[in-house]
């Protein structure tokens, strides 16, 4: 009789919790720098597009920066007495370390903080309940590994690798198809959650249009990580079959691909897409140990789930050594990974 809407939790790939050396919190300088680079652009977007008339008594957003920009809008329009109270919902997987997140929030914050566990690939919030959504370094995660790449009988079987870089075209296509589906469902879910006129701001890691993944840091190094796992299998730490059965549920898009995916949606006006000028990336990427920690903070959770915790130290030690031996990784110019800023405005459709 009634609509039994359920909010189930899909597969979960959480970043490393806590504040230790391999925690995500200690290894996200790159992400912080990109956020800094985007600050002015988001401020301008809010000044240009954010209609304060659409706001009700509560306003949801995700960053103090965004809050300040919105407040400025009220002040500049002479209605600062109408500045609303802010609630910021922090979303991450159920297995994310929300305890550490909550403890790390500033004591004098000017917003109410809430944690919302669940996958951003599905619905997270009630209909038309949010005014600003910001997704930061999240959409490179797929909702799942494409089934075909784990199927021994399929031409897309990704044997001996853990990522699509340097794989046959069927593997690359399977990953690309999954990414397209995930972007569609993400954009659709966020469209339902935003009020008309609400903004969606995305930071998405990508590579330039002219390049293939095998020319980039992220592609090459994930291949390198896969080769460490294969080396270990050969000396009895794990097995090749186990490596064959594992693939990273991630995808690195290009400006062109993402542009086409976003343009085909009907619920948003495409306000802006651009490459963020991320100044410090060379600095943070050139040290082999830091590079290894960076990767470990992001991928250990999903690797551990498949290979077990006891080979993680060995894996990342080997990885650090391989990175140190590779001249490619010592050449800062070789890093062509970029970060895309996408700004969308919810329309009436």
């Amino acid at each position: 009789m009634e609509d039994k809407k359920t909010y189930a939790s899909p597969e979960s790939f959480a970043m490393n919790g806590g504040k230790g050396p391999s925690s995500y919190a200690q290894n996200s300088i790159y992400q912080r720098e990109a956020a800094e680079a985007a600050k002015e652009k988001i401020n301008k977007a809010i000044a240009d597009h954010f209609d304060i008339k659409t706001l009700s008594a509560s306003l949801n957003s995700v960053l103090q920066n965004i809050i300040e920009a919105i407040k400025l809008q009220y002040i500049s329009k002479g209605v600062h007495t109408e500045i609303p109270e802010f609630i910021v919902f922090f979303n991450d997987h159920v297995s994310n370390d929300f305890n550490t997140l909550f403890k790390s929030l500033p004591l004098n914050k000017q917003y109410i903080a809430a944690g919302v566990p669940g996958s951003f690939h599905g619905r997270l919030f009630p209909k038309e309940s949010l005014h600003f959504i910001h997704s930061s370094f999240a959409l490179q995660w797929l909702s799942k590994v494409p089934i075909e790449v784990m199927d021994e009988g399929s031409p897309a079987w990704n044997k001996g690798r853990i990522f699509y870089t340097n794989a046959q075209k069927e593997v690359v296509e399977a990953y690309a198809t999954q990414f397209a589906k995930d972007i569609d469902s993400f954009v659709f879910a966020r469209a339902q959650e935003l009020v008309v006129g609400g903004l969606l701001a995305l930071f998405i890691p990508a590579i330039p249009d002219v390049m293939s993944n095998s020319d980039t840091f992220i592609g090459t190094e994930l291949d390198l990580l896969g080769s460490c796992l294969m080396d270990m299998a050969k000396v009895g730490l794990g097995s090749e079959a186990k490596v064959d059965a594992f693939n990273l549920p991630a995808y690195v898009t290009t400006t062109k691909v993402l542009n086409a995916l976003i343009e085909r949606n009907q619920h948003f006006n495409f306000e802006r897409m651009e490459i963020l000028n991320n100044k410090s990336k060379y600095l943070t990427l050139c040290n082999p140990s830091m590079r290894s920690l960076f990767l470990r903070s992001a991928f250990e959770g999903v690797l551990e789930k498949h290979f077990g915790n006891d080979i993680m130290d060995e894996l990342f030690n080997r990885y650090t050594e391989k990175v140190a031996e590779s001249s490619f990784f010592l050449n800062a110019e070789a890093n062509k990974s970029i970060v895309l800023l996408v700004l969308l405005k919810r329309n009436n459709y």
Copy 2:
């Protein structure tokens, strides 16, 4: 120029986290039974007082039971297609174990879950953003220990005890005054957060009007816990000065006192106050080890903060022994603690 509203976190006293033997999760049968006893009453309150016309697209509540009761309202009025999406905000201190909470939520839940860290003694949510607030076994916690009871120069100095039971009247009064202040600020904060017509449902542990705290389990046993600390101080585990400097930030009210405090508020109509018939309490209270675990799950956090972790096992072992030796605790009839259900409706004031 603008209103720098901040949401600071006051002192924090969290229940024991995780799922181990001394966790709060494993030692809250008493609380669960009370919730069961209140189910029908809350359902009736919703049927009588909940005006579905006041609901916007998102609806906040705290229990699946409440959600079902509200859904029934829509169905019984023939507007089941208008059943809103539900978001449930779980509030607890910043130091609460939200990770375990999120992991323990059912996969097929019919609401969106959010965690909101912070003290319920202050504002937690934006103005007029909630439709139903439920506070369960929380208001016995004071926002702080009254200053006087820790002041050696004050007639309210609570020397050699950790609670106001059996203390001089100045101590009892200081605690009562703090409780009154805390209820006032709690009720005021919730009034701001609720929409007009919204409901506030409280479960509050209490004792019957005719009794003093020293006649009750909770009073006597906290005295017993204090005496264990004094015994330990005498054999060099801690010091008497340390016991003098510690007081539990908790208060057990009576129907009469609470009634007077609630009645003086202007923002709520007083719909109902009654004693819940909590069937199983005798069962859960009569076993010394369980009694000890029950107390430990609730009070270890605040005790540990003052006395250190290393004497906790010793303390609760001694406590279990004292409970076992006391004939008082073996007499089920001696437990006179009750649970009050209070139902309030936000008015237009």
